[in-house]
Amino acid sequence: MRVLDAIIRIRDLSFTWPGSRRPCLSQLALDVNRGERLFVHGESGAGKSTLLNLIGGVMLPERGYIDVLGRPLGKLSSSNRDRFRVDHTGFIFQQFNLIPYLSVLDNVLLPCRFSTERARRTGGSASAEARRLLAALDLDPRLAHRPAASLSVGQQQRVSAARALIGRPELILADEPTSALDPRRQAVFIELLMGEVTANGGTLVFVSHDQRLAPLFDRCIELLAQ
């Protein structure tokens, strides 16, 4: 039953960076279920970010296939992959997530600019939904019109979480989003993020080298450096 409900299906996945002799990922198989909160652990260079780039459809695997929401990414044209990504996926990175010269609100609304689907799923007013998300992530509403560059790192990460969540994408991919935060703020951030992901009915893939975070998640897998 759980297998049928897989939101991500990866089989026999291999990827080698151009110019590198060793494969970054090799013969990876992975299923992620709908609503699951998966922790991917691995040392630096184990291919965690590469995996997220592959799931996001920004890069294509050398071999094997990736299926997201039943769509084989390798068979989509690159412009369809771009559209598919923004319609169904939200990203959070380690830091420098925000476009510094845009306001907090404009940063959160970015996916709605590129995806009518995401804008539609905000249920009418995208900016009202953005304000709701910012409030749910415990951000002072007075910051909404401040330029993103004026926020602290912790505030920036919450803004980027709001951006990933706006328009209820099925999949949230997080690449070390807490590594720039101190341990207490890490836990607070993850709790807030998970709360919203669950409320939205989304699936979370959370990548980190910090194994201490693993107990907060449903499932934990480890990538080994090749």
Binding site: L52, V58, S78, S79, D82, F93, Q94, P100
Partner: protein, 428 residues
Amino acid sequence: MKTLLPLALASAWNRRLSLALSVFSIALAVTLLIAVTRIRDAAQTSFAQAAAGVDLVVGPRGSPVQLLLHAVFHLGEATHTMRWQSYRTLAADPQVAWSIPLALGDSHRGFPVLGTTPEYFRHLRYGQQEPLGFFSGQPFSGLFEAVVGAEVADRLGYRLGDLITLRHGSAHLDELEDRHPHGAEHADKPFRITGILLPTATPVDRTIHVSLASLEAIHLNWQGGLPLPGLDIPPQLATKFDLTPKTLDAVLIGLHQRTDAFRTQRQIADFTGEPLMAILPSLAMDELWQLVGSVERSLHGLAWLIVGVGLAGMAAVILASLGERRRELAILRSVGAGPGHIVALVMLEGGTLTAVGLLTGLGLVEGAGYLFAPLVNARLGLDLSTNAFSAEELRLIAGIFATGLLTSLLPGWRASRMSLADGLVPRL
């Protein structure tokens, strides 16, 4: 496009200092190009208008351009002359509304002296068919009276009533006078200035106008370009002689019907008395402009080159900014921007910069025109506003904008490649 433009503008505003400099260089280049074009057009117009209102220029058969240079610009030497009697026959033709006989050959301190009739001031037009106007005084009426053009009066500081002497031959350089201090000067018969003309930006400004009879009179005791020794005819005695000229250099003709110009031209070519030719000044003027146009063309080419430098500078600034924009581009990719979006974003930036540069440049030209046009008009008689925002200028503006867009294609393409290779997180 609607979603991308605010992004492109916000991003550009974030880097406004370096971009402002490239906008500034584009603006200056545009200013130069538009200004050169406008001055060129104004000069060409005023050039073509030097003989406005003249339907035909008649002279001895030879080179049309040479006749035009001689009759309208008073340049060069006449190799042949035409007979006075031929002029009388032409003037009596029923198709001819008016005719102005011209005799050249003398000069005053480098300025050509033109022998003609008072008809000249009545019929000659310049610019937009405007008649010649007098700054002060009136046309010559008797012997040894002269009407000087605006530039002559201005450069030599002449006022009404001043006396001037004419020099035999057309010495066009002032230095020549120093080398031949006792050259062929008609010192015995000075001319009184009775009129000073308003500036016209045509060769009229550089001309000293006297009556044909005066020219005859000062040459009474001359032969072969030198005064006859021992023969002095004082001015007061000159009236005793028949002062009807025997030869002329050219005749300007106005017709009753402009459309008769070609027919009359053929009739004059078939003139039986002597070999004559008639030219349509506008046609010959175009031919002449082709000759002198090479300076203008190279200036124009240079201005385009400077526009090219400005746009290349812009492309370089955008290219250089891509390094610091890696994060920004990766974030945009992660929120759904495709490579096409990235190219469009960079081209929107390039297009905006070019447009702002264009508008600034046009503003500078218009501002300078507003400030200096009256001065230029008064001093040089050039009307700089005639060709403002003409079809050609609009084409030029569109061309610069298109070139700007095309130039930003290069950084745009580079940005899209970069953002693809970086994936969602740039590898710094």
